[in-house]
Symmetry: C4
Subunit: 277 residues, 4 copies
């Protein structure tokens, strides 16, 4: 068990590994595309089942489809476990957990009705989509966005802390000013309103009525309108700096198993899960 | 059939070509401006016809105007086909198809009531407006925006994939949390709500009621407020880079027939439809 | 009549000019501050008069205040006309017209009730506020914003044309898809809805109900969320370019009469109205 | 009284100072984290008390918790006063006032019911959170944002003045156009609507009904959608400039007492409150 996919293992295992985990060979690429379609179809089935009218007409069919996909994904999950060099590392990696959670809810739904809706967690499996295009530009571009966000994470955290403080203080003020009869029935409720307003969503389910309340709300709106410039400015400035535009000499490669990127140019094994690159 | 507008063709054809397709001559400019006014008026007529009160008063007049414009546009379309060097290339180019679709709905409306509203597709003909100003700055500026968006297309796609995944997962969670009695009647419905919230539109036709739902909604709103920084940052950074600011030495010229730009400096024929520049 | 404020004119005229039009002397500064307070108070009086409850209590008082301010502004306007070198140029400049319009509505309201609300046009007189701070940073900063917007005007126009075309086409589609019973009673109405949605305002007075309509609306929302990046990117890139950051060697001076800026360093007379700087 | 925390003072005072005001020692760090938890819990207690259902069940418990925290914070406040070198400077600094206001409302609530909600002012004490992480990146990043905003303050003020003028003029126009029966009952009300619309919040509690009103509203929305580019552009450009990216050689240090930053590299005492750094 020193090398990935176990060099001393029989030929079928090596082949299976390259089909299931890689997408350089035609077979591997086909496998990935079929898998993506299966994921999309199964998510669609879960969605349609939730629509009352469709459920009353085609309910049993949809539930059958769900079971078929669940069994298929279960087989796929077991196959991944068998074929990979370090099953435990895979099982505990982010993608491994998502793969596991994509199968479980249907089984639980036998005991607990309603839990099958958790199947939409399968949507997260679509993240694999990027592997298929790994030779394309997507990895680099995704990397670029993630790197810019990472580099700005302290600034964004400072910004969010300021926003939360503002929202709590103004929310409480509005609770005192407007009072329960205008919809501001409690401080958490008022904070919810303040978030709805500051982010310029503005449902209108709660809205100020008194003159003082409207004045406060106007100030909050103009603040929200102005301070959206802060995160935007942070990310723009980060993306415009040369260091972000010209990424360091990382290998543009994704680990087959845990999808980690940012490998050093000379790396032969994934720095996160130890899989061979 | 070697040169555009057919050098061996009679003089009237050459003249007609320069009037209909070019706008360098006074006659060509006048033709274009008259055409734009006709397009605006016909779109206005279609709009007014849809207003119940106006329709009951001036319905027949508006329908007559529609027919007059349709016949005029039909004549224009046929004239374009006759005069152009490669009629088929024109007919299959984007602008050719739009010109064709601008005429068809009125004819169909004889058989199928209501289809005349598709006439607003004529609005797309207004894209020709840029040709009139081709000596001005518009081509360059339009080019600039399109080039910046093109250069960011992978980043924007990655961003949209992330947004869609987020919206599906949170939409389903809200369906489980809030349930049908609060308006979240199905998963697609909840996803619609999540899009309305994340994009900060916030109609308020569906809005969370439970404490857990409101907490989730607050997180989604703050996320939506923060991640709008990503597309903005991408486009800003792209536009601020020197390569985007100083465009390559392309010819600032639009093809008369298919409106293609980005011709090489030494190009004499359009790279897309083969028309003479 | 060669020089501003008429060198051959008596001393009182020169003094009056420096008080009314300039703000370098203590007297001129005091005049400007008193004027600004008067403008703010008179606008406030007009606003309060429109509130029913306040009007029924203090109506006559408010109307008296209005008349006092109108007479004062009329005197000021006449004084400006007498004192300035070229009365006609002042009267026809933007600020001269605003000064005139600030007086007229009260007079008209004698004949036509309701017209006194047009007095809020006085708010525009507050633009003079920048003159008071002319030694400060405001002129430069205002200049900076205006210059960046001017430099981007073609890009913004192209963007607005694209937005309008999009809004017309999607508005009409929604009219066909949703129909009158869901609030989309006419094409102009649907276009209004499309603008409300694209700009992420989202009143919720009209909102889609059918599945197809909601799908279309979702696309429009995500588009609106994404394309806001375009104007932001344009202005950011413009402001970040060195040419915008380091303004050319213009004189940081505002014309006393027409408030024009951007004078050449060696200029002694305003390029717009001919007043001495 | 020459040095902070009074070098001639007994050892316990020096120790107490380093625990309460600094966070370099384990004891000081523990004190700060306990304090933050206490603040969060006490704010939570105030919030929950405002929820009617929770109040009727656990009201007395919550009020007891409030009193416990108030007494603790009072002790802490007195300790700070005793231990600090210049008690008056601390008491009059921003943080000193916030610390004082965090204790007072509970005492007042004995006489005046409802005033305990002002306790959320305690949230502002969370600003201390940044001190704990002072060795981290937070100070620098917070500094970066504040410096960019400060550098843009004139531009933002000019922008806000323009926005307010726009909102007043359009608000009044809408009042004249729509009139009271459509919700635009007074000019201040209409200005409130204009702010709700321009900032793209869009509650929908007031929305235009007439054709002219909707046209005006559409223009305002597109304006609001476009001019959000201005503050964003200002802050982005400011953050992208090298002078902002590479901050001057200030000491990355916060004053223990008044939280001032931006100290000169050679500074040994806080420039604002005179405390030893």
């Amino acid at each position: 068990m020193e090398a990935s996919p176990q060099p001393t293992s029989p030929g079928w295992r090596l082949r299976a590994y390259s089909i299931i985990f890689e997408s350089d060979t035609p077979a591997g690429r086909t496998f990935d595309i079929v898998l993506l379609c299966a994921i999309l179809l199964s998510v669609l089935a879960v969605m349609l089942e939730s629509v009352h009218r469709i459920n009353s007409l085609y309910g049993p069919t949809l539930r059958a489809i769900e079971w078929v996909f669940t069994v298929l994904f279960l087989i796929e999950y077991v196959a991944r476990l068998i074929v990979v060099r370090r099953p435990l590392t895979y099982a505990l990696s982010l993608l491994g957990i998502i793969d596991f959670l994509s199968v479980v809810p249907t089984l639980i739904s036998l005991a607990l009705a309603g839990s099958q809706y958790l199947l939409v967690i399968r949507t997260l499996r679509l993240l694999r989509v990027f592997r298929i295009f790994k030779l394309g530009q997507f990895v680099g571009e995704g990397e670029f966005i993630v790197r810019a966000l990472k580099a700005s994470r302290f600034k964004i955290l400072v910004f969010l802390t300021a926003v939360l403080t503002l929202v709590i203080v103004i929310g409480t003020l509005m609770y005192v000013v407007e009072g329960g009869q205008n919809g501001f029935t409690s401080i958490p409720q008022s904070i919810y309103w303040a978030i709805v307003t500051l982010t310029t969503v503005g449902y209108g389910d709660i809205s100020p009525v008194t003159v003082l309340g409207r004045t406060l709300a106007s100030i909050l709106m103009i603040l929200g309108y102005a301070i959206i410039a802060v995160p935007t400015g942070i990310v723009s400035a980060q993306m415009a700096t040369p260091s972000a535009a010209a990424p360091p000499a990382y290998k543009q490669v994704i680990c087959h198993v845990c999808q980690a990127t940012d490998h050093k140019p000379e790396a032969e094994y994934c720095w996160r899960c130890g899989e061979k690159l």
